[in-house]
């Protein structure tokens, strides 16, 4: 078993797991647990920034590969330990580092079963990092499945409300999706003889599959659709979010949903260029449903977390619309829409991460998330109010924040392809403004309520993750190139494959 590569990605993926094991085995005192978890999260953030800065955009392609051939040494079943990043996954690694950091620091006030809590939170981070960096389909699948276990425990033990129900619902939905995916992965393997996700696109194009490509596509897409989530398999999300602890909501909305979008781009679009072009109009339609239906239901919500959860469903619809632009116009595919979809995953991650962080802080201070009971908080907690407003404005796509960049890219990319669908989806920006501003009006503005007169603002410790996320939102909003250039490079290969596949000629006159 030979190991190639410098080990940076291996470190990124397994450092949290190592930290978790260390805490589980050796650390007893809660305070120490927190500090060690905090140190691991900080180190992980630094490492993910290193991955981001080490990735050489001028060279492009696959970099930082860590690989051992024959990880599972069975002759006919070549599973490799194979990690690597390209332009598509590098920013998502950074995103995971950012939000993992924010999540650990947002968990400082966890009081029950502290040790277990941080162990699971760190395991979760390993799983997500693994999904974004695995290039062997079985490894990818293992990481995909691994993520469910910590999520299940985190929601069902440290959650609130109907936490067992929500955790089980999350588990069943995700499990059902990934069962389909496993069948799809095996079908691909028995057709092509490889699990190598880099070789698979060509291999699929050149061999005859054991089942129609559309069916295999559908099997794998189901798992991603559940995760994103796509209407109508979205109902697990509001429940999971509402009952999960703050940090888990941050991870769930911030990075876990992006596993779905990432899979759609990497696997569904990258490996099935012909099918995705045929399916594009369905994606566009589902995207519009997600955006508009999600936004309208968001307006009705009275629980802050449930509100943000539904808004995530709405915002993930834009990812679908961005991906649908691969159908191209006049036989030409522009990478703008696909880049926008990837950007939307990154920006929504930071924005909604911030949003959940703020909601969590608010809940901690005032002990309620019910909007009708809130009001006038900005006089008592100005820092949290400002962060809340920034998250909200970024969410409604205000220029100068990262939310605008991804939305405009998606719109510009998809409008020439599906003008009507995109046009309807653009109306989502009005609905978003509606629920965001109404929420701000009812919670932060208005006269101060007496029983909140002793509420404290964010502590210095709590300001750290707020500042990190706000900084990234503004930075990407003002100068998006350093993320968008990478994504564009990442999707360029996929766009070229679609262009080459000849699928476009079939769809368009």
């Amino acid at each position: 078993m030979e190991f190639e590569g410098n080990g940076l990605l291996t470190l990124v993926v397994f450092l949290p797991l190592a930290g978790a094991l260390g805490i589980a085995l050796f650390i007893k005192r809660d305070k120490q647990v927190r500090y060690i978890a905090g140190a691991v999260a900080l180190a992980e953030l630094i490492l993910s920034v290193m991955v981001f800065t080490t990735y050489d955009l001028s060279k492009g392609g696959l970099q930082l590969v860590d690989r051992t051939s024959q990880w599972i040494p069975i002759e006919s079943f070549k599973v490799e330990y194979y990690l690597g990043v390209d332009g598509l996954s590098t920013p998502l690694v950074l995103l995971t580092g950012l939000l993992g950091f924010a999540a650990v620091y947002a968990s400082w006030s966890i009081k029950t079963r502290v040790r277990e809590y941080f162990v699971w939170l760190l395991v979760l981070q390993t799983a997500v990092m693994g999904v974004f960096t695995s290039l062997d389909f079985i490894l990818f699948f293992l990481m995909w499945e691994l993520e469910m276990i910590p999520m299940f425990f985190l929601i069902s033990i440290w959650g609130s409300g109907r936490r067992e129900y929500s955790a089980m619902k999350f588990l069943i939905f995700t499990f059902l999706g990934s069962a389909f995916m496993l069948v799809g992965i095996l079908a691909l393997f028995y057709s092509t003889g490889t699990f190598d996700m880099i070789l698979l696109p060509d291999a699929i194009a050149q061999t005859e599959l054991i089942a129609p490509a559309g069916i295999i596509f559908g099997l794998i897409f189901t798992a991603f659709a559940v995760k994103l989530p796509v209407w109508p398999v979205h109902t697990w999300l509001p429940d999971a979010h509402t009952d999960a602890p703050t940090a888990v909501s941050i991870m769930l909305a911030g990075v876990l949903l992006k596993m779905g979008g990432y899979g759609m781009i990497r696997v569904s679009a990258g490996m099935f260029p012909e099918v995705i072009v045929d399916a594009a109009i369905v994606l566009a339609a589902l995207g519009v449903v997600n955006v508009i239906y999600g936004a309208i239901i968001t307006i009705r919500q009275t629980d802050l977390k449930r509100l943000v959860a539904y808004s995530s469903i709405s915002h993930m619809g834009y990812v679908l619309i961005g991906i649908s632009s691969v159908a191209g116009v006049g036989g030409l595919v522009s990478p703008t829409g696909l880049t926008g979809a990837a950007m939307q995953m990154f920006t929504h991650g930071t924005i909604t991460g911030l949003m959940f962080l703020v909601v969590g802080l608010t809940y901690e201070k005032v002990h309620t998330r019910s909007i009708p009971e809130l009001g006038g908080l900005s006089a008592r907690m100005p820092v949290i109010a400002v962060a809340f407003l920034i998250a909200g404005l970024a969410s409604l796509g205000l220029p100068g924040t990262s939310g605008f960049v991804s939305e405009i890219l998606i719109f510009l990319g998809a409008f020439p392809v599906y003008g009507w669908f995109t046009g309807v989806a653009v109306f989502g920006v009005v609905l978003t403004a509606g629920y965001i501003l109404w929420m701000a009006q009812r919670t932060m503005f208005g006269p101060t309520i007496d029983r909140f007169s002793n509420v404290r603002d964010a502590s210095r410790m709590e300001m750290v993750p707020l500042a990190v996320l706000i900084g990234s939102i503004i930075l990407v909003g003002i100068y998006p190139s350093f993320v968008s250039d990478m994504f564009r490079d990442g999707v360029a290969g996929i766009v070229a494959d679609i262009q080459r596949s000849g699928a476009l000629a079939m769809v368009l006159p």
Binding site: T235, R300, F404, L412, V426, V430, F445, P447
Partner: protein, 664 residues
């Protein structure tokens, strides 16, 4: 050649033009990131920082106007800079410096500067002093960025930032529920317009191929003009759709019917904010947008007619509500909507230069009137309700004099600034053949009388008669300054008002005289600077409109000063009309109660919410139950009794044997 520009005049360079934007932006950054968090006890500094930086911007704007004038009103070309590039979407940023830009810069920085000086007096002692100046600086910077933008996406960015700042400033006193609601309303209503604007941009961008075929960039404003000029790049109907999309955005920002509802509520913000919003920023952006993309509108007669009709309807519609309002700022707000309607209708009849001329003069007198309203409100303890004012002429001579000048200018009385620009609008409409221009001319003429009437109604109710107690008498004012007698305002407030009053007198005929005025050639601003040749002074129309205005003033005098006509009798004789007007044609009820709350929130959103919980999630539960029940059913077979297992097993073997035998 423009003779009044001295020979030594050097043309403005691009970095200097950027500074016009960077000074207020810098003031925002310093105020929000340094002064407010760390030096809030010295918050007085933030006022000075804002005023100094805006002075610098204003000086540079004068320089810009001079440079464009020296260039015979032609634009100074600077190439745009690449900012972000994603595939065929190239985002460039740059400055488009032409006569429209330069004039807007002058108005924006000049009016904003005067507003900031006034604010230093008006906002004295407010706990959010530095926050106020931070927002105001950002507001000005955004508006400056908006008018300078050379790329349409860049313009859209600033367009939205202008909307954000007005949201923050209208909701400045966010602890007041009415202020928070008004801020949200302003943002949302304008966002409905922005939806159209964004669709227009997307449609324009989707025409990219025919632009690139001609070596043009669809998002560069200059290139759009060139494309229209070529005539073959986009068809008239495409141009029309894009123009209508843009116009929806302009309607939202400029409060045109039926997206006008936010503007009268917007006065929940501090009064200087209103004076800035109504004069130079925010609402001016809509008119500017239509003027900026006039070639697109011109290419499509339908789009142009739409602009004219919406403008004409708005003129009368808004003025009619101004007739009956008792809140001084509300009258002024409806007046602004009505005056913006004049500008829109001018563009609609093909005279964007005249519209901008009116925007220019209107900025001065409307800013002045709002500052006067603020001064009055300070004097009477915090109310804006005119029913509790009266008799202030004697105690506030400066405020009275300047307010009178502003009112005369707004009413369009010779020779004040408003007279000249309004006359050119009327003449432009009347000079156009066709039913629509003639119809909107009629509407515009009717509104002249209405304007004069509501403005002098305000003037008489506020300054004439006897004092009626001010805020102490107003039951709607919950908290106000300890009761005091009315007094004249401080000079930090009066100074800007006097300057604005001078501008409200002279800005019209000095900038755009009807005869050669020394070095200034006749119709300089419109003809030579904004390059619009059609507009001419029309003596007949001037006479008619002056007569109409004097009629309005006379009526107001008879009703509110001499009381020859009893206002009560008039009101009661047209009670239903009066009710409709004072309820603002029930538009708030229509939008908020009926459409938003009942149809949308309870109806559509309620139904979808139910659908999501009961049908979509219900289906999940059904499947869940199905699985569980199947499991239970099978589970019942697992009794644990070896005897029954054996029986079933034997039965199974028999069945299989039987089948096999049968098949043999």
């Amino acid at each position: 050649m423009t003779d009044f520009i001295p020979n030594f005049w050097q043309q403005i360079e691009e970095p200097q033009a950027w500074l016009i934007f960077l000074f207020p932006l810098g003031a925002f950054l310093v105020n929000s990131l340094i002064i407010r968090p760390f030096f809030n006890q010295y918050s007085k500094l933030s006022g000075w920082i804002t005023v100094v930086s805006l002075t610098a911007s204003f000086v540079l704007s004068v320089y810009a106007v001079g440079s464009v004038a020296a260039n015979d009103g032609r634009s100074i070309g600077w190439a745009s800079h690449e900012w972000v590039e994603v595939a065929n979407f190239k985002m460039t940023v740059g400055i488009m410096m032409n006569s429209l830009t330069a004039l807007m810069l002058l108005v924006v920085t000049g009016v904003s500067l005067l507003v900031q000086i006034y604010s230093m007096g008006y906002m004295k002692g407010d706990s959010g002093y530095s926050r106020y100046f931070a927002y105001m600086s950002l507001f000005t910077a955004s508006m400056v960025g908006l008018v300078m933008s050379s790329n349409i996406v860049q313009l859209f960015v600033f367009w939205e930032l202008v909307g954000l700042c007005s949201f923050l400033l209208i909701g400045f006193w966010f602890h007041k529920p009415s202020a928070a609601a008004a801020a949200k309303k302003a943002f949302l209503v304008t966002r409905v317009g922005d939806f159209g604007f964004l669709l227009g941009i997307l449609y324009l961008f989707s025409q990219g191929d025919s632009f690139t075929a001609n070596n043009l960039n669809p998002l560069e404003i200059r290139d759009i003009e060139k494309a229209i000029g070529l005539g073959t790049v986009i068809s008239s109907s495409v141009a029309g759709w894009i123009a209508l999309g843009f116009f929806l955005g302009a309607m939202g920002k400029s409060g045109q019917f039926p997206l006008h509802t936010w503007l009268p509520d917007a006065m929940e913000g501090p009064t200087p904010v209103s004076s800035l919003i109504h004069a130079a920023t925010m609402v001016a952006a809509g008119v500017f947008l239509v003027a900026r993309f006039f070639p697109l509108f011109e290419a499509s007669p339908v789009a142009l007619d739409t602009v004219a009709i919406i403008g004409g309807v708005t003129v009368v519609f808004a003025a009619s509500m101004g007739l009956v309002m008792n809140d001084i700022k509300r009258v002024l707000a409806y007046s602004t909507v009505s005056q913006l309607g004049y500008m829109m209708l001018a563009i609609g009849v093909g005279a964007p230069g005249v519209a901008i001329f009116h925007l220019f003069t209107h900025a001065f007198f409307k800013c002045l009137l709002f500052q006067g309203a603020g001064s009055v409100s300070h004097a009477v303890g915090g109310t804006f309700d005119m029913r509790y004012m009266g008799g202030l002429r004697r105690v506030m001579p400066w405020t009275y004099a300047t307010f009178l000048i502003g009112s005369l200018s707004l009413a369009g009385i010779f020779p004040l600034a408003g007279f000249w620009s309004k006359d050119e609008i009327l003449a432009s409409a009347q000079g156009q053949a066709g039913f629509i221009p003639q119809a909107v001319f009629g509407l515009a003429l009717i509104a002249v009388t209405m304007t004069a009437f509501y403005m002098f109604r305000v003037l008489f109710m506020t300054f004439e008669g006897d004092y009626k107690g001010g805020a102490d008498a107003d039951p709607d004012v919950e908290s106000h300054a300890p009761s005091n007698t009315p007094h004249e305002s401080a000079w930090s407030m009066l100074g800007p008002m006097v300057i604005l009053a001078l501008l409200a007198i002279f800005a019209g005929f000095v900038a755009n005289p009807i005869v050669n005025l020394g070095a200034i050639p006749e119709h300089w601003l419109v003809h030579d600077f904004l390059h619009e040749s059609a507009a001419k002074f029309n003596l007949g129309i001037a006479a008619i409109s002056t007569f109409a205005a004097i009629l309005g003033i006379l009526l107001a005098y008879l009703m509110y000063v001499s009381k020859t006509i009893s206002a009560q009798t008039v009101v009661s004789s047209v009670r239903p009309i009066h009710t409709v007007l004072s309820r603002k044609y029930y538009f708030d009820e229509l939008y908020e109660d009926l459409l938003t709350t009942r149809v949308f929130y309870r109806g559509l959103a309620g139904a979808l919410d139910w659908f999501d919980r009961c049908v979509v999630d219900g289906l999940v539960r059904v499947i869940d139950n199905f699985g569980r029940n199947i499991g239970r059913l099978i589970g019942q077979a697992q009794t644990g009794q070896v005897q029954s297992y054996g029986a079933v097993l034997s039965g199974g073997v028999l069945v299989i044997l039987g089948v096999l035998l049968f098949l043999k």
